[in-house]
Symmetry: C2
């Protein structure tokens, strides 16, 4: 059905997800507009929302929000200390948000901070043993949960999807700055 290859596959019928329904409504009201982008961007947004809702389940059992897990995960996967600024960049959040998260996680004994000896503006944050244990305990659950969620797709489709998203993401990350001016 993908308009480009023209082959009317057997699944011609009703792209029955909510985004398709929304797009149909828009086309009925504004037939002159090209609603093509909605079919991609709307679905990415909706998938992200549903997946995050689903993903949160195993994390919540561990008492972590996703941003908290992202912060701990950044420390775990890099294997070394990170400064608040690096953590902000690594987790795509604002510095202020990271400050608050570090405070909370410190109070919970999951991370520790120490000042830099040379440059006294900067701090270094590292996982405690408890923090590392928590990440290592949650990650397998998290991954198997995600595997279950994605099992609705055939492995081949999953790989294709990953590849296409990688292509989009690579270019988006490269060009976001440029688009900002041209939009």
């Amino acid at each position: 059905m993908t308009a480009t290859n023209g082959t009317p596959s057997r699944r011609e019928a009703p792209t029955a997800d909510t985004v398709a329904a929304v797009v149909r409504q828009w086309r009925a009201v504004h037939p002159e507009l090209d609603t093509g982008p909605m079919e991609v961007i709307g679905r990415i947004n909706r998938c992200a929302a549903l997946l995050q809702q689903a993903e949160d389940a195993p994390l919540r059992r561990a008492g972590l929000s996703r941003p908290e897990f992202d912060l701990l995960g950044a420390l775990r996967r890099t294997g070394h200390e990170l400064t608040p600024g690096e953590l902000a960049r690594e987790t795509f959040s604002s510095g202020a948000a990271v400050t608050k998260r570090i405070k909370q996680l410190t109070e919970r004994g999951l991370v520790e901070r120490r000042g830099d000896t040379r440059d006294r503006r900067v701090a270094h944050v590292r996982l405690t043993d408890a923090g590392r244990a928590l990440v290592d305990g949650v990650l397998p659950e998290q991954l198997s949960y995600e595997t279950a969620v994605l099992s609705v797709l055939a492995p081949e489709g999953r790989d294709d999807l990953a590849a296409l998203l990688a292509e989009l993401l690579t270019r988006l990350e490269g060009r976001m700055g440029a688009l900002r001016t041209g939009g």
Copy 2:
């Protein structure tokens, strides 16, 4: 082409997006885990974040947040009045959030409310002329902006991506309830 079939395709080299780098780090630390799901879910989340940031630009010029635009858009595309509850379902937000948005949009003269004559619990919300004009003015800008953002992909890739996401989304929307118990 990707990890599953084992064939080292020509695009072995530069999966250069940030998610690929993160996955590599995790594999180095936990080689025993299957990080496959991250390549899909991580990218969906990251794309959603980047796209929303980009998308917001034209909306902000119109003085609207995305949730506000979603609410107005729901009224515009359905073509009739909606109750707060219907708006909440239509825009995937909580009832409380919708209540607040309606209040604000009413103050700005973009929507109006009236009580139901039969059932005095329910309200009906509709676009004002100004509201409809605003949506109709913003939507084309929004779509052309999205088209520009997606132009980093070939049209064929865009369609494939839309189709794969539609498949995932259709199944996710169908099975979210079931997974909740099994996870």
